[in-house]
């Protein structure tokens, strides 16, 4: 059942259109991640759902009810802010109890709900501390606790891990996923970090300049990106792009001239790309040292040895950056030409409009 529905949602600040007609359905219990680069409108979209920003046009439905004109508290949402937004002068207990105090719940009920949230979030021993005495991860948990006690239909998270260091971030990521499983609530999570998106989401919404670029499961987006933007945004290191021109498209194979790199034949049924300038994409982790369906020679100018992986950075004759990701620690010295091959079935093709050709 659809719990959140966005219909033709738009938001403008004076002349600037920030959200440009968004349609989205979120079903109950889903973990949805809004991901995109800075300024793509993901936080604005979340704030519109929360009721912190007015809607310029379109509709927001929560649980089948249009909530455009309802204040946040009547929407059945709870939000966790990037800065945690903890009240520095209140104890952890009072921070978590704040929404319940606003509701004027009896003390016994406040104790019960705060106690339950503190237990889930392992904050029982910290209830009398002030936020200033807590670590970043504990502060984050307090902010989540404040959301939990409201028992909302939908949790909204606005880049909640971006203030944490890398180790704590991955720890909190797992805690959030466990929390989602335990509560079974709908969660909408905003991040610019595609690793967070890939690891946490049931459904990823990729935003670009106020529009949805693609919606799908993490692996859908990884294996079948709809366009150049999604292909470049999802995956780390990012996908390699090589410009070329289609010399033939006979309904079974598309042949692309890659200039100095040679000609590549890709299994595609499209005939419409014939004669077009296109982009060929191949993920760094799909490259192999040596031969393949297609092979090219590059000279790495930087090599990163990560133990588990080795990453090479080179520049192609056309000026494009070309990154290779190889398992283990192969012998790939900097400045020495390297033959790299890949399977054509793992190659992505994008037409001159940047849309994927399958």
């Amino acid at each position: 059942m659809s719990q959140l529905s966005l219909k033709h949602l738009e938001k403008s600040f004076n002349e600037a259109r920030i959200i440009k007609g968004i349609d989205l359905e979120v079903t109950e219990g889903e973990f949805v991640v809004f991901v995109g680069p800075s300024g793509c409108g993901k936080s604005t979209l979340l704030r519109m759902i929360a009721g912190l920003e007015d809607v310029s046009s379109g509709e927001i439905e929560i649980g089948g009810r249009v909530v455009n004109d309802l204040p946040p508290v009547q929407r059945g949402i709870a939000m966790v802010f990037q800065s945690y937004a903890l009240y520095p002068h209140m104890s952890v207990y009072e921070n978590i109890a704040f929404p319940l105090r606003v509701e004027r719940l009896p003390q016994a009920q406040v104790d019960e709900r705060v106690g339950a949230a503190a237990k889930v979030l392992q904050l029982e021993s910290r209830l009398q501390h002030r936020p200033g005495q807590l670590s970043g991860g504990q502060r984050q948990r307090v902010a989540i606790g404040r959301a939990i006690v409201r028992q909302p239909k939908i949790f909204l998270f606005d880049e909640p891990l971006s203030n944490l260091d890398a180790a704590l971030r991955s720890e909190m990521r797992i805690e959030l996923m466990e929390l989602h499983k335990r509560l079974g609530s709908t969660m909408i999570y905003v991040t610019h970090d595609q690793v967070e998106a890939m690891t946490m989401a049931d459904k990823i919404v990729v935003l670009d300049a106020g529009t949805i670029s693609q919606v799908g499961s993490p692996l859908d987006l990884y294996h079948r990106p709809d366009n150049l933007f999604v292909a470049g945004f999802i995956g780390s290191p990012k996908m390699n792009f090589i410009g070329g021109k289609v010399t033939a498209a006979d309904g079974t194979t598309v042949t692309v001239d890659l200039g100095a790199l040679g000609t590549i034949a890709l299994p595609r049924q499209s005939r419409s790309v014939a004669g077009q300038s296109v982009t060929v994409g191949i993920r760094p982790e799909h490259l192999r040292l040596g031969e393949g369906d297609f092979a090219l020679t590059v000279t790495p100018n930087i090599v990163e040895h990560l133990g588990i992986h080795t990453v090479t950075y080179a520049t192609l004759p056309g000026g494009e950056n070309f990154i290779g990701l190889f398992e283990g620690d192969p012998d790939v010295p900097e400045g020495t030409p390297l033959k790299i091959g890949f399977a054509t079935e793992q190659v992505h093709l994008f037409d001159q409009a940047g849309l994927a050709v399958y």
């Binding site: 912190l52 946040p72 508290v73 002068h89 704040f98 929404p99």
Partner: protein, 295 residues
């Protein structure tokens, strides 16, 4: 060792101009006043040391105790009103209301107009025959005859406070506004998301987070108001019948009016002791607050 000594010498060389300035402008007059307070100095060229006589006299003869009490009442009322009005002004200026820029401009004149001109303006407004206040209140039927507000003890006392508040409120408002705007917007948004209304947010978030600013401003304002001279002197010169005579006015009258420099100096030393206590409280409060923030 040599390098550490040269570092000390270098620091002293840099500090020397400021130290000399402070010694001449602050320390010397302070010490001189303190010494003078133990003498019977007057217009006569020579004077004698009289020990604690001046201090004993100001606390046993005359009405200095009454002046001290009046000074504290005057100061507390003025500071209290400045804080309350300043806070209300800051809340209004901080609210997203139409004409906010106009209000921000309108609050500035008391601060921008030279103080003496502002005080003279109030002097005319308090005038019984030509004053605007008396005229308006008669028009509205609040009073039935002209009232010279500075001619009676009670009204003059309040009139000087009102003028002091008028001059002091803009700075308090701007300071409180800055403190209010430094409260992260997220806190208000989080509270609003949780259903807290404006007044609830003000009571449980804004006000508690403003305490450091209120405390700092109260103490600074207390020191400035306690020493406020120009307003009372220009409006009433401490009258009528001493009803607006505060410690600073009393000291000036004794030293410069009666030419009793020794006794005036003793009164100045008493003022200095009170202000020093305020300063100690202020610095302790600031230290405590900064330690609290560090936690």
């Amino acid at each position: 060792m040599t390098s550490s000594r040269s570092a000390v010498m270098f620091a002293l060389a840099l500090l020397a101009p400021a130290l000399i300035y402070i010694l001449i402008i602050v320390a010397y007059p302070l010490v001189d006043t303190f010494i003078l307070s133990f003498t019977n100095a007057s217009l006569r060229p020579d004077y004698d040391f009289v020990g604690w006589a001046n201090y004993l006299r100001i606390f046993t003869a005359g009405n200095f105790t009454e002046v001290i009490i009046r000074t504290f009442i005057w100061t507390m009322l003025s500071v209290g009103m400045k804080m309350v009005i300043g806070m209300c002004g800051a809340v209004l200026l901080n609210a997203a209301i139409p004409g906010q820029t106009l209000f921000r401009i309108l609050i500035m004149p008391p601060w921008v107009v030279p103080m003496a001109i502002g005080i003279f303006m109030w002097g005319w407004m308090y005038n019984g025959q030509f004053g605007m206040i008396s005229g308006l209140l008669q028009n509205f039927g609040v009073i039935d005859r002209p009232v010279a507000w500075l001619a009676y003890g009670d009204t003059a006392f309040w009139a000087t406070i009102v003028t002091d508040v008028w001059i002091g409120v803009p700075m308090v408002t701007i300071y409180f506004l800055a403190a209010m705007q430094s409260i992260p917007r997220d806190l208000h948004e989080a509270a609003w998301t949780d259903g807290a209304g404006r007044f609830y947010r003000f009571r449980r978030i804004t006000l508690p987070l403003m305490i450091p600013a209120v405390l700092t401003m109260s103490l600074l304002s207390l020191i400035a108001t306690f020493n406020s001279f120009d307003i009372i002197w220009i409006l009433t010169q401490g009258g009528p019948s001493g009803s607006t005579t505060t410690m600073i006015i009393d000291t000036y009258k004794t030293a410069m009016g009666s030419r009793k420099y020794g006794e005036g100096a003793a009164r100045a030393v008493v003022i200095c002791i009170f202000v020093s206590i305020f300063c100690i409280v202020y610095f302790r409060a600031v230290r405590k607050l900064s330690q609290g923030e560090a936690k």
